[in-house]
């Protein structure tokens, strides 16, 4: 099978994107301005990201669907209101992570946004777990774009006037040229922003409309530096089948009520791990100076004993310095612990630090009116 293209491929070409293959798709890594300028534009203005390679899984059903999904996800779905979103994960019995995702309660069911590289497998796993009792569809007829940055609400409002009423982690259906589009106020950059699910035939026009109002296309390169500055996990790097949400420091995403009652995939393991304390923890790491410690760099304590490994590392354009995340033995996970990172066979000093590396004034749960 050849490389897949999103419905915005031609637009990316028109804007002189450099392409890379990502999860089987030809995706823009950057445009003419380059990763650093694109990153900074998103932090100060509004960037548009084509994330149509990601999976949009619609599952339809009533109360019995909610009950079945609660056997899978560590979420209080019974009390999740219409148009509200939650971050979660699909786990195995051992609490290893198949994928991380955003699930939104919609009228008559749920919409789950899945990672591109995982979506087909997720679909298989979920179909099997739900025993074909519900209508489940990985929708390829819809594209997904994100608009992110402090001006995103102002710009999106010019195209979809009612969008301002959305609060963080909520969504809703809106009309665009007689078609229904689904918008959530969410994102993956640490900025205010929206994700827009729209039929393939209209996505180019919609995106061009946002560009005409001042937003700019941003590639996957800046998407990665933005999410890393925001301390957000990338599946395949921070998260995989050998990591649990507890080790990944994502306990906040597990419903307290569900945690005490259990009954979701991996719940026994998670309870045990919370009791015993995880051996390793995801942390932020800042190398001294300008040195970049990338994925797979080993971490040592000051006595030169191995204590962990970097999972993502780059230069943070807004932090103006190198940043990384990784897993480290719990006893060394405290902020300001001095460690060594191995790069090209040499060890260099670094510090454990809190996440995110970059924080906006307005944050989770805030109202954006």
């Amino acid at each position: 099978m050849g490389i897949k293209k999103t419905s915005l491929n031609k637009l990316h070409q028109d804007y002189k994107a450099k392409f890379v293959e990502f999860a089987g798709y030809e995706m823009p890594i950057q445009y003419t301005k380059g990763i650093i300028e694109e990153h900074k534009f998103t932090r100060t203005n509004a960037g548009i990201f084509d994330v149509s390679h990601m999976g949009q899984l619609f599952i339809y059903g009533e109360k019995d669907l909610t009950i079945e999904l609660e056997k899978i996800f560590p979420l209080d779905l019974k009390n999740l209101k219409n148009n509200c979103s939650k971050y979660s994960f699909l786990m195995n019995d051992d609490a290893g992570i198949f994928d991380d995702l955003i699930i939104t309660k919609i009228e008559g069911g749920f919409l789950i946004i899945l990672n591109a590289a995982c979506k087909d497998k997720d679909y298989e796993i979920l179909s099997k777990l739900l025993k074909n009792k519900f209508k489940i569809k990985l929708d390829n007829e819809r594209s997904l774009i994100a608009i992110q940055g402090p001006r995103s609400a102002e710009i999106l409002k010019l195209v979809i006037p009612e969008v301002n009423k959305l609060k963080f982690m909520t969504g809703g259906w809106f009309d665009y040229q007689s078609e229904e589009i689904f918008i959530t106020r969410s994102g993956y950059t640490g900025e205010d922003g929206f994700e827009i699910s729209i039929i393939n035939d209209l996505v180019e026009k919609f995106t061009q409309n946002l560009i005409n109002n001042g937003a700019e296309l941003i590639g996957l390169g800046a998407r990665d530096t933005l999410r890393l500055e925001a301390g957000l996990c990338l599946y395949g790097q921070e998260l995989n089948l050998n990591k649990t949400p507890i080790e990944a420091n994502l306990k906040w995403a597990i419903s307290k009520e569900r945690l005490s009652n259990g009954g979701f995939l991996g719940s026994d393991k998670i309870k045990k791990q919370i009791q015993a304390g995880p051996k390793k923890l995801r942390v932020g790491i800042k190398p001294d100076g300008r040195l970049i410690a990338r994925e797979k760099s080993k971490i040592f304590n000051e006595s030169n004993l191995p204590i962990g490994e970097i999972t993502s590392g780059t230069f943070g354009p807004s932090v103006n310095g190198p940043i990384a995340m990784g897993y480290i033995d719990k006893e060394f996970s405290k902020t300001n612990t001095k460690v060594l990172v191995e790069v090209r066979g040499k060890k260099y000093p670094a510090n454990i630090c809190g996440l995110p590396f970059y924080k906006k004034n307005h944050i989770k749960g805030a109202s954006y009116e």
Binding site: G34, I35, I36, G221, R290, I292, T314, F315, P317, R344
Partner: protein, 126 residues
């Protein structure tokens, strides 16, 4: 100053007496994208033709810098270490990497001239 010569690893080199100045080409910086880190060989160390002589990193990846000729490192450009974005701004001018006292001047003869390099770079682009 001699004519600028180019290597297949996308370094440029000019010669002044028996001291060569070496940097990476504009074409190389365009392939790399925004450069955010540079590491240079130590002053006083010896480097061998086609051997490692530093590292540049973009936000995406690290790339080795090679030396197209052998010699002793007599100077390095600390400015590009302190502000690697200068490499993108002026790769074939002020953002030189290091200067070598040459071991064997004839090593330069096998390198490409500007015209040959441009043809090579075009054929190897993307």
């Amino acid at each position: 100053m001699s004519e600028v010569k180019f290597s297949k690893e996308h370094e440029w080199i000019t010669l002044d007496g028996d001291v060569a100045t070496i940097g990476i080409t504009k074409h190389a910086t365009e392939m790399l994208g925004d450069i955010v880190f540079a590491e240079l060989p130590e002053k006083g160390s010896s480097v061998d033709k086609d051997g490692n002589a530093g590292v540049v990193e973009s936000t995406k990846a690290a790339s080795d810098v090679y030396t197209p000729v052998s010699g002793e490192v007599v100077d390095t450009n600390q400015e590009i270490v302190d502000d690697p974005s200068k490499i993108n701004d002026d790769p074939e001018g002020s953002a030189w990497f290091f200067k070598l006292k040459l071991k064997d001047k004839s090593e330069i003869d096998s390198l490409m001239n500007k015209e040959e390099y441009e043809k090579f770079a075009k054929e190897n682009a993307g």
